[in-house]
Symmetry: C2
Subunit: 558 residues, 2 copies
Amino acid sequence: MNKKKYAIGIDFGTLSGRTVLVDVDTGNEVATIVKEFTHGVMDEYLPDGKTKLDPDWALQYPEDYLEIYKETIPAVLKEADVEPEQVIGVGIDFTACTMLPVDQKGEPLCFQERFKSNPHAYVKLWKHHAAQDEANKLNEIAGERGEKFLQRYGGKISSEWLIPKIWQILDETPEIYEEADRFMEAADWVVMQLTGSEKRNSCTAGYKAIWHKKEGYPSADFFKSLDPRMENLVEDKLSNDIYPIGDKAGEITEKSARLTGLKKGTAVAIANVDAHVSVPAAGITEPGKMLMIMGTSICHMILGSEEKICPGMCGVVEDGIIPAFMGYEAGQSCVGDHFEWFVNNCLPQNYENEAKEKGIGVHDLLTEKAGQLKVGESGLIALDWWNGNRSVLVDVDLTGMLLGATLLTKPEEIYRTLIEATAFGTRMIVETFRENGVPVNELFAAGGIAEKNKFMMQIYSDVTNMEIRISASGQAPALGSAMFGSVAAGKAAGGYDNIVEAAKKMAKVKEEYYKPIPENVKIYDQLYAEYKRLHDYFGRGENDVMKKLKEIKKITVR
Amino acid sequence: MNKKKYAIGIDFGTLSGRTVLVDVDTGNEVATIVKEFTHGVMDEYLPDGKTKLDPDWALQYPEDYLEIYKETIPAVLKEADVEPEQVIGVGIDFTACTMLPVDQKGEPLCFQERFKSNPHAYVKLWKHHAAQDEANKLNEIAGERGEKFLQRYGGKISSEWLIPKIWQILDETPEIYEEADRFMEAADWVVMQLTGSEKRNSCTAGYKAIWHKKEGYPSADFFKSLDPRMENLVEDKLSNDIYPIGDKAGEITEKSARLTGLKKGTAVAIANVDAHVSVPAAGITEPGKMLMIMGTSICHMILGSEEKICPGMCGVVEDGIIPAFMGYEAGQSCVGDHFEWFVNNCLPQNYENEAKEKGIGVHDLLTEKAGQLKVGESGLIALDWWNGNRSVLVDVDLTGMLLGATLLTKPEEIYRTLIEATAFGTRMIVETFRENGVPVNELFAAGGIAEKNKFMMQIYSDVTNMEIRISASGQAPALGSAMFGSVAAGKAAGGYDNIVEAAKKMAKVKEEYYKPIPENVKIYDQLYAEYKRLHDYFGRGENDVMKKLKEIKKITVR
């Protein structure tokens, strides 16, 4: 009989939960079950079907998370024919900041009949963007007060993060703010459903709630300056007890054992975030190795030994990715989105027809044609700011630019130029980290683009002049969570003492990797020099034409 | 019986000749006949069907021009039921520089059996671009020698002009150069076919052959520095006898009377160029009024009282447009071509489909959509250099730029931005003339875009903050030529003493005109300030990225 040890990783995404059963010794994924959230993303109506939501809202229903536990955990065990006793630990990761107000018992306020029609009682998903006014005010006040925490976040707190979301509740429905015993990250809430006790994780606290291991949260005086009613927000509605990634959160309770079919007493890890938990899943547990999660946007994560302030990083958090290290995060807000825009707005009919005739997608056709071009052949260069610049300039008002067009310029040349521009953006992030004392020696990549787009990955390798290794797991976040589950269980139970040990056995990268091609590197160095000059000219205030055009646009459409 | 007086204008274009019979008293066009050239533009084979031409070649066959006379002149008379006695004068205009080698009798060398298979014996059309090497060498040598004539041509002699074309003949087929008794503009050659004597016109001599009314041609020493065999080019193969526009070239001979059906002794005007002859056709006979011929490119022409050196003008020629005035020419090399590029390379399938469903052209659809946008609404700006910059920077190595793109940018926004960029380019030319002492007080327009594209013309009016009047004749060049024909006839014969008098009666502009819309002007002023800053930044050497990209491209594709 199979007496191997397993860990379970559960990745709570935007539309579904994904549970993976992983062999603790090898990291092999032996069973995977995905279940969509029953209520999905609520951006038009509440579950009552009549309470309408404003634009920019995005809510979830916490009952959906419990359904993930109830259905997918027994299902993976059954599929792999594994006994509950064989599962030594559970880890979860979640989107963030995805947050909810709960009562004293930890029950979501939206479970109470009296709040069923109150949107602010529900879970605010990471992409709930209706707290922009609060974020703007927060940044303004923090700037005026010279709050040093801003530096750790590239000078700006996002409307997606915890404090603006809480403030929006207070602004619009003070009774929910009052009624809430506390506000929790959904990540911590789902862990609490397994363990019966609240243990907040250092990753979301650090990256999303302005918490710092040594300095804690912003001061009561700062919160008071936002709104006097928020003066004691931390003490009253949050918690100063923050637990580092890699700790054990607790064990499966009798209640959660009934829900999940797992054995009471099974170890549960401190909660984590989808992007961050992918880092050890790719085998990264030490400084110098940057992981890029590449999809519609790119999230760049790297560990450091010391806390440095790097222009434009999205955050630096101690224990934020791997315990005992500084976890740095940066990002490009528009990568895959760029190419989608191009295909939807700029692709001529004959290209569509050609793709159809060949029976391939338009991206494949463009990639095929763009791949036949030599580096520098198009004579084009672009600034990849179609959706602003998240790093290193942190300026949403910057816009895209294409330069070098002639009457002979072809669609595939523009397509390739947009890809190259995003690669230059990544190089700019890498160099900025290096210049500010955070070494970047190796590149790793995960996500849809990393797995599928060889053409683009080669360009990234050539532009950065670095080898790029690709995460071998199609479920990197769930694998990473399972790794943390096995660490929560500990060596004695058949798991590992720490994430470094777990990564040695369980992490996965593909054997093939991308190597820079010297002749391409040489030309890209020249092109990057031009990119950098344009980047600084338009991005650092010498010529603010992009902002002026946005101002003119605002006046015009008013 | 109809005893009105008429003049005939003949416009020799690129693909056809267009003969118009015009009422001398009113300027009304009473009959028009168009005939295509039998041999069209020869850019692949000679008429023998076996001698292959290199790329960039473009030839014509002079017999085709005689066919225009033979067929279209009798045809207009017949169509309008007009007697030859009623025709008091003939004027012609031609493309330029369109040139040919002739023998001592003025016969084209290509008419001789022994040269039938020699491409250099034929007419080189204006768009014959195979003399680029010679033009480059000429500009280099002239620059080194500090030849002052360069200033009059914006610093550069085009490969389309006379001297490079002659030099190419010498370089590649010295026996043709030797055999040629002289080289003539086709404009002057076709006039000579009517009058029996050679009288070269000041327009092509000035704009295309580096001739100056006071200084004459470049020195023999200069020509010798190009090639010792060319030292005496002017004396041996050209002529110092140049006649101003508006003079009488001669009269219909017995021979040409037989060819054309016109009466022997009918006055014939000195030859002219299609664009330049459109100026009086729009009623312009004095300084301050700029005519724009708007099509695939724009040619800007304006008269001045004094000779000024304006950066980037294509030429300034005394008597070049209207006798006794300085004729200034400037141009934008890429206007209609711009929009064609966009439609061929950037238009999505759903736009094509929508146009098809509505039963309109894609340009009409884009214009409809772009017309719904307010000024400044797109947030975009462009530099209109897809085909380099002819004026005021005179730099073919500049390339196009689009700035301000976001994920919401739509095709019609880019389309409108390209139109606006060409209008900013025209404003730049207008302002440069003004700054250099050539007043521009009124705008006139002719050509396909001026006649058809109200949307674009309104943008030009708003951007320049000037009213724009539109030439009312669909055959402006032929009308202008007929006007010069009536001047050649003179007042005693029922014509006019000079072109000013002729224009008062015969010129045509439409009653409606474009008026700037104040609120648009205000915003375009702001956008133009941004355009100008980018224009100077990328165009005047501060950031030579466009050239660097072209250099990289050259190295890459080598």
